[in-house]
């Protein structure tokens, strides 16, 4: 399902004292089956942007298309259920989407809401909870008697159980422990590759954005500042710093070493392996010149 924004503007509290333009004439394209990361300073409009993709927010102007589904500012109310079935959304604060009595019921809610049978929903819920690494001993407890990271895992499981084609993740790894973040990210990367899911991830972790994405969108003041491959986006070091962003730590490390060598160039490398190669090349190069 291709996702397209055409001249989308969003104003919160229009014609009230709290009026705030959070998106300003945004046009962008997210190809079907791609992994897109969205980065940007606090308040730059990332959450507002992605909430338009499953109709949680309606544009004040412009239109959004998600596959055949169109949301237009000038349209009257429409049934969003078919859209929500295809586009799953994991909130920035997981507490916002938990509400059932027990964890297992909470995860079953999504699929059952879209007409899946009791037994099939339970099967999917158990599978999903296993995928996110929440031990079975917890499943019949209240989702509110959990630690922060455990709640996030349940929220993610709830979305997986619906088996959507598009998954929106608003800072999915905030609050996860290091092993958990790696497992969850490889889980999404795997779903993306294996089932051709479209993944849209808001993140403050530049390395994750660089490693997992086909496309990185850098937001600034309610507008996309850059939208391109990670290699291209992260080569704009100065520009990113100017808007409160950064480069992945691999590049930060390389730039420190380059500076030592009196060099100004930007080297893009995202994995430890590529970075190690770049380091060795650089040291050899410098040595040959002495």
């Amino acid at each position: 399902m291709d996702i397209t924004f055409e001249h989308v503007t969003h104003v919160y509290g229009q014609k009230t004292p709290f009026e705030k333009k959070a998106l300003n004439d945004v046009s962008l394209h997210i190809p079907s089956g791609s992994f897109t990361s969205i980065i940007g300073h606090t308040g730059s409009g990332k959450s507002t942007l992605v909430q338009h993709i499953n109709g949680l927010l309606k544009p004040s102007a412009g239109r959004i298309s998600v596959g055949d589904f169109v949301i237009d500012a000038n349209q009257k109310k429409q049934d969003l259920k078919p859209l929500r079935e295809k586009v799953g959304y994991v909130f920035q604060y997981p507490e916002h989407q938990l509400f059932e009595e027990t964890i297992i019921k909470d995860v079953c809610f999504g699929p059952m809401n879209f007409g899946v049978s009791d037994s099939e929903a339970t099967k999917r819920a158990e599978e999903s909870l296993q995928l996110v690494g929440l031990p079975a001993a917890y499943w019949h407890r209240s989702p509110f008697d959990l630690s922060g990271g455990q709640m996030r895992r349940v929220a993610i499981a709830g979305v997986l159980a619906v088996r959507p084609q598009v998954i929106i993740l608003d800072e999915p790894t905030a609050g996860l422990d290091p092993r958990g973040r790696e497992e969850i990210l490889s889980l999404f990367s795997d779903l993306h590759k294996r089932l051709n899911l479209t993944i849209i991830m808001v993140t403050h972790n530049m390395s994750d954005a660089a490693i997992y994405s086909d496309q990185v969108i850098a937001m600034d003041g309610g507008k996309p500042l850059l939208a391109d491959t990670p290699e291209e986006v992260f080569s704009h070091v100065e520009l990113l710093r100017k808007v409160g962003l950064d480069v992945p730590e691999t590049m930060e490390f390389l730039s420190k070493l380059l500076k030592k060598a009196g060099k100004q160039q930007v080297v893009t490398a995202f994995t430890l392996d590529d970075t190690a190669d770049a380091v060795i090349d650089l040291l050899n190069e410098v040595k040959d010149h002495v």
């Binding site: 920035q92 409160g244 420190k256 070493l257």
Partner: protein, 279 residues
């Protein structure tokens, strides 16, 4: 070194039906230090934090803050005054109708004179760069803006001890650096004792001391430099290694003869540079 918190033989379970989530915890916190607590999800960090300001009273063992026992109802308000806690989810902390009211609320509770409140309010909002949002309702803020306001609310109280429970997890890279620096300045200049619960190892390596939790227990305690040498233990408890160590291991795998001393990026850069000069 002056002790400011002392925890002895602490054990806790949320209720009879629930298992023990803290088991025989013992540690002390020194005045003016920066102590980080790391550990897997559900290892008991937030529960432990709530024991330190008396929000939770352990079923077994004691917690003393500046000499006051948290189980003593007579002095619990004294403890709450000394210990400021920034919660993992800022929504659990907001009470005011606007950002400004919210930050002021805590100070009112502490009975601060109006003139002092006004001054601290603007100072706290300035420190977290949220002056422009003073009149905004907290629920109209973005995720990271909420975290900034939650931090301002505690900083304004000028506690003796600040507990930050993943307080910067939703901030952009620059914002995170700035907030940590702000707290570090308070730590250095005013001897603010900082207890930081974090999954960010790049932050943890800068602390004076580190506690590693696993399944309700403290499994290691010490200086970051020593703890991050225990690669196997960290892997076993679901943690990772700081960037410089992972980078060094990747370089070593490619026959670059590095020692295992570097913990910070800068140290690794220096070591590489020295190595290359002597080649």
């Amino acid at each position: 070194m002056e002790k400011i918190i002392e925890v002895r033989d602490l054990s806790y379970r949320y209720s009879e039906e629930h298992p023990l989530v803290l088991k025989e915890i013992n540690f002390t916190v020194n005045k003016g230090e920066w102590l980080s607590i790391v550990g897997h999800n559900g290892s008991g960090k937030s529960t432990l934090a709530k024991c330190l300001n008396g929000l939770i009273i352990p079923q077994k063992g004691t917690v003393e803050v500046n000499g006051y026992d948290t189980a003593d109802e007579q002095t619990i308000w004294e403890i709450r005054r000394l210990v400021g806690m920034v919660f993992q989810n800022p929504d659990n902390q907001f009470v005011g109708a606007t950002v400004q009211d919210d930050v002021a609320f805590g100070m009112e509770n502490h009975g601060l004179p109006r003139a002092v409140m006004v001054e601290r309010l603007s100072e706290a909002l300035r420190l977290v760069k949220m002056e422009a949002f003073a009149q905004t309702e907290p629920h109209r803020l973005s995720g990271g803006q909420k975290q900034r306001v939650a931090i301002a609310g505690i900083v304004a109280l000028q506690p003796l001890i600040i507990i930050m429970d993943e307080a910067t997890s939703m901030l952009d890279p620059e914002g995170r650096r700035e907030i940590i620096q702000t707290v570090r300045d308070l730590n250095k200049k005013h001897q603010l004792t900082v207890i930081s619960i974090t999954h960010d190892l790049e932050e943890a390596i800068h602390s004076d001391r580190l506690l590693v939790m696993n399944d309700g227990q403290i499994v290691r305690e010490g200086k970051p430099r020593d703890i991050f040498k225990s690669t196997d233990l960290l892997k076993k408890v679901g943690l990772d290694l700081p960037f410089a160590i992972k980078m060094r291991n990747a370089l070593r795998a490619k026959e670059v003869p590095l020692t295992d001393s570097a913990l910070f990026q800068e140290e690794l850069v220096d070591e590489l540079w020295t190595l290359h000069s002597s080649m």
